[in-house]
Amino acid sequence: MTEALVEVTDLSVNFVSREANVCAVNGVSFTMMPGEVMCMLGESGSGKSVTMRALMRLLPARRSVITGGIRIAGQDVQAMDDRSLRRMRGSTVSMIFQEPMTAFDPVVRVGDQIAEVVALHRGVSHKAGRQRALDLFDLVRIPSAQRRLDAYPHELSGGLRQRAMIALALSCEPKLLLADEPTTALDATVQIQVLILLRSLQQEMGMSVIFVTHDLGVAAEIADRVAVMYAGRVVETGPVRDLLRNPLHPYTAGLLASTVHDQPRDRDLETIPGAPPDMRNLPPGCSFAPRCPKVGSDCMVGMPPPVSPVPGRIARCLRVSAPETEFA
């Protein structure tokens, strides 16, 4: 049996300041196999990006309290010193962001930025790094790659910039790619190009990808498995087909129903009433209970434990009972 690439157990992240204590992530657990694509689906403030940053140890050390275990490729990320962190970032795990403009240095040519990373991690010359950058630009289908290596980030269009960032992230062939809303800022016709590119690169290179998005359609295009986050917890996980066709958790069902996609125009859209909870002051019990159509008094007592009605699917909801329950 192959070993899991990522094992996260009961991860919690609190941001502590003088005014408030924000519980951004409240007990997230998941495992990922090599070569798997998992989508973290959730709305703003649900803790999906914070979870990603915790995996890379990118959160400000002094203001964030992180508990729980994170193991990537057999190593304990929490226990790493600066040197091993530097070695891990880029070569084992690498990350792409929503806005590539802020991820690149604006005053260095993109080719040189990639060459620098390759030279540092691989111990090769800058010239060899540039050659590698050229190969990577071809890999991510950047037209006139040789000329684009000498471009500054602002000279590239949004789609090309995101491709250049993917090239940078893949420069050291990471085992795990963390993609934090990489297509959200792109135009529709460009978004689909980048999604198709990421999917084919993932298959060619066999890496694992955690893809953060708030868009169900994007998840349907790219994911093998989806983890739905709400108020800092994973409320449901499962294979993408099952989860989209037959959601278990009322939040997932509500999200699907309220996504505007060719509904009849003469009828109101289905909505989830209310708004996501204040992360400084979470309700006791299930955080979705105040908005849930299936709520009962038992929901307010404690966070529901994970139940698995079908192998491979987990939901944290008291209304989902263990095996053989069908939800329409």
Binding site: D187, I192, S258, T259, D262, R265, A275
Partner: protein, 356 residues
């Protein structure tokens, strides 16, 4: 209750239901780019380049397109937050800002706008009910009366006035702030509301609530909407007619269902085919078009889409296709393939259906 009921807004109706509420002809806005130490104009961003359309009374016109297509510039031109370089804007029979027509201020009493960023469009140092009451007070309504009306409006957009009226913007969530912005836009009892990406920054579960609210308000107050968005699903749901823009021009305009079921312009077809499928078994294997939208500083010659169009032929780079009379209400597309006399080899032939 201070809101004027629909009958009152009908009293402002001058031309009757057949006269369009808004007619725009040949609207153009080029932004100069200055460079060098002398600040000489070296080029122009051709943000809106000769756009003509009409909005009927009581309808919702959706405007879609990618970034840089000029849809937000159109919104700002309609509100006269920007002055057009050329073009005519007729509001219910009156030319706006011209002799013998109505002034910009008079037009703005009847046309209001809601912006994408709900936070930056509210004064952070003013309780939200005062923000809502601000414009009526500026137009001479006594303060107490205006605040009373603001509270009625808060209730109308689904916020408890006693609970929310005295709060400051930072004490509200994004969805609540956008409801305040909608209430403020309604404070002058406008006949038309321009919604520029008004729900784009909201989470999906909140977006649906605000969309339902907008539809309910439109019915109740007899409003006309211009709804600008990049989200094709949302535009289809809310719009009666849809206008598709590309690089400062209208490429297609027509009834919403006609555009979504039988798109005529290759760009509209590409946009629709670029939507994620929401079904893992129908994933897109190939992108409908390659590359990014070109820079509007130097748009391509002829048809501006010809550099990305799968059907492009020499005629497309040579001549710009005409849209036809967009002030009529038919289904029009600016494409040589729609014009049998254009010289395009596929002209007049039906296009294959869009798969999704």
């Amino acid at each position: 209750m201070m809101m004027s009921p629909p009958e009152a807004s009908d009293s402002r109706d001058r031309g009757g239901p057949q006269q369009p509420l808004l007619t725009v002809t040949g609207m153009r806005k080029h932004f100069p780019i200055r460079s060098g130490i002398l600040g000489r104009v070296s080029a122009h961003v051709r943000a809106v380049d000769g756009v003509s359309f009409t909005v009927r009374k009581g309808e919702t016109l959706g405007i879609v397109g990618e970034s840089g297509c000029g849809k937000s510039t159109v919104a700002r031109l309609l509100m006269r937050l920007l002055n057009p370089d050329a073009g005519e804007q007729i509001f219910d029979g009156d030319a706006v800002g011209e002799q013998g027509g109505i002034s910009v201020a008079q037009m703005r009493r009847q046309v209001q706008m809601v912006f994408q960023d709900s936070a930056s469009s509210l004064n952070p140092r003013m309780p939200v009910q005062n923000s809502v009451a601000f414009a009526p007070i500026a137009f001479g309504m006594p303060k107490a009366e205006a605040l009373g009306m603001a509270q009625d409006l808060l209730a109308k957009v689904g916020l408890n006035p006693g609970l929310f009226g005295g709060r400051y913007p930072h004490e509200l969530s994004g969805g609540q702030k956008q409801r305040i912005n909608i209430a403020r836009a309604l404070a002058l009892s406008p006949r038309m509301v321009i919604l520029d990406e008004a729900v784009s920054a909201l989470d999906k579960s909140v977006e649906a609530q605000v969309l339902n609210l907008l539809q309910a308000l439109k019915r109740e107050l007899n409003l006309t909407y211009v709804f600008i968005s990049h989200d094709l699903g949302v535009v289809r749901w809310i719009s009666d007619r849809v206008m598709v823009m590309y690089l400062g021009e209208i490429v297609e305009i027509g009834p919403a269902d006609a555009i979504y079921i039988g798109p005529k312009h290759p760009y509209t077809r590409a946009l629709l085919a670029s939507r994620p499928a929401l079904d893992p078994d129908q994933r897109r294997l190939e992108a409908p078009v390659s590359g990014d939208p070109p820079n509007p500083i130097n748009p391509p010659s002829g048809c501006r889409f010809h550099t990305r169009c799968p059907y492009a032929e020499p005629v497309c780079g040579a001549h710009a296709p005409a849209l036809g009379d967009a002030t009529q209400f038919g289904h029009l597309a600016a494409c040589h393939m729609q014009d049998p006399g254009s010289g395009h080899t596929a002209a007049g032939r039906p296009l294959p259906p869009v798969t999704h």
